[in-house]
């Protein structure tokens, strides 16, 4: 037990020492799927997380192939899902950046891309 405890505590001490963030709501899946290619620009991007989200502190931005923002602004949050409408942006690579606060009070952020084209 004592040895196990010591082994267990070491990574935690490292965690504290490095100040690494620890948080909760992780991206479970998205639509369009992460890294996938779709034929035409989607009307919206929907992200599903592993936990419920706080609307007041959750947001998502989407930039199109030209680097300009193509999201309509404020994201819609319901339970563990967050959606944002898109204005369209042609073919190419879209970048999705998200930052969410889970109901259990922890902030996470991340990004992914998807492709639009034939």
């Amino acid at each position: 037990m004592r040895r196990l405890s010591l082994i267990s505590i070491v990574p935690l001490l490292v965690l504290f020492a490095t100040g690494e963030a620890t948080a909760h709501a992780l991206l479970d899946h998205a639509e369009p799927r992460v890294g996938n290619k779709v034929a035409s620009p989607p009307r919206e991007v929907t992200l599903s997380f592993t936990q419920k989200l706080e609307p007041a502190f959750s947001s998502v931005t989407v930039t199109g192939p030209t680097g300009q923002r193509v999201d309509a602004g404020k994201a819609r949050v319901s339970g563990n899902q967050m959606s944002v409408s898109l204005k369209g942006g042609g073919t190419g690579t879209y970048h999705v950046n998200w930052r969410v606060l889970s109901v259990d009070t922890h902030t996470t952020d991340g990004s992914f891309t998807f492709q639009v084209g034939p």
Binding site: I9, L12, F16, A23, D28, H29, T105, S111
Partner: protein, 313 residues
């Protein structure tokens, strides 16, 4: 990924708040269920101070938690986050804020009940408010954000888990004070009464902790792999180890020292009482260590998410 508020202060504040809540709630339960028949005798007089001190510590640590949480939620540095706009958004638009307001109301109720502690109605109203004060913490943790029908089961299990933990760990502090007062005033009969009833309370608490702990573990860890290969699981194993030590000490108290305390020999009773105080102090230390671990566990990814996650950011 960024955590703007320093992690260690938030973990420490959570741990202090959990400990202060447990001590307050444990003392209210102890006074209502166990010490009530002894309330007019000397040994119980000092335990009311435990509730007051615990409540003050709960309020201070709760306020600091709110401020640190506001910084964490907003992503701003602490000095920039402490504005009326950010704090009102946290209070009015998040589940954490709602729970904080509810708990502040429960603190006011507890203050009124403690001030009128001599009346039966106030004592039982305080008992209910204390249980709610412990249970409400479930809505600030992982259980409050679990998705779907499983979320309701998780909340119920976690609320019961918190109430049972507070009754046992918090109650130990009051038990030690009562036993110490009984030892000094040679009031062995009061000590026998308290130990006998605390033993029953302990058995009920342990049963609830085991059942609800199993439910929480299935939901948050999910597999032996999650228990062994994640920080969350490893820390949970440390917590279970401390829980096992507490159980072993409780068994010694129940099956060896309690019969010795009940024996007719004064010298043997006195020795048993001293050993009970010592064991209860070690149990309390283990219990407070568990609460410190809980303060950290709530800030870690649940193991089941790390094991099952198929798409990472």
């Amino acid at each position: 990924m960024e955590w703007s508020a320093a992690g260690a202060p938030l973990v420490a504040t959570r741990a202090v708040h959990f400990a202060a809540t447990a001590i307050t709630v444990g003392d209210v339960i102890f006074r209502t269920i166990i010490a009530a028949p002894l309330l007019h005798s000397g040994p119980t007089a000092s335990t009311l101070r435990v509730s007051w001190l615990g409540l003050v510590a709960s309020v201070i640590s709760g306020a600091i938690w709110l401020l640190l949480q506001a910084a964490s939620m907003s992503g701003l540095p602490l000095d920039e986050a402490l504005t009326a706009d950010v704090i009102s958004t946290v209070i009015n638009e998040t589940q954490f804020g709602t729970v904080t307001v509810v708990r502040a109301g429960l603190v006011i109720c507890l203050v009124a009940c403690l001030a009128c502690d001599r009346t039966l109605l106030a004592r039982w109203l305080g008992f209910v408010a204390a249980l709610a004060f412990a249970a409400s913490l479930a809505w600030t943790g992982h259980a409050g954000s679990t998705v779907g029908a499983e979320g309701y089961l998780h909340l119920v299990a976690d609320a019961l888990h918190l109430m049972a933990a507070a009754a046992w760990i918090g109650g130990l502090v009051s038990l030690i004070l009562l036993l110490w007062a009984a030892h000094r005033s040679k009031a062995i009969a009061a000590a026998r009464h308290a130990v006998r009833w605390f033993s029953i309370l302990g058995i009920i608490s342990v049963a609830v902790l085991l059942l609800t702990g199993a439910v929480n573990t299935v939901i948050l860890v999910g597999s032996p792999r999650g228990l062994i290969f994640t920080n969350y699981g490893q820390l949970l194993l440390v917590k279970l180890g401390l829980f096992a030590v507490m159980l072993a000490l409780a068994a010694v108290n129940r099956f060896r020292l309690t019969p010795e305390l009940a024996s007719s020999g004064n010298e043997q009773s006195s020795v048993a009482l001293r050993h009970l105080i010592r064991n209860s102090a070690i149990e309390t230390a283990c219990g407070l260590s568990i609460l410190a671990i809980v303060g950290l566990l709530g800030t870690l990814h649940p193991a089941i998410h790390l094991v099952h996650l198929t798409i990472s950011r």
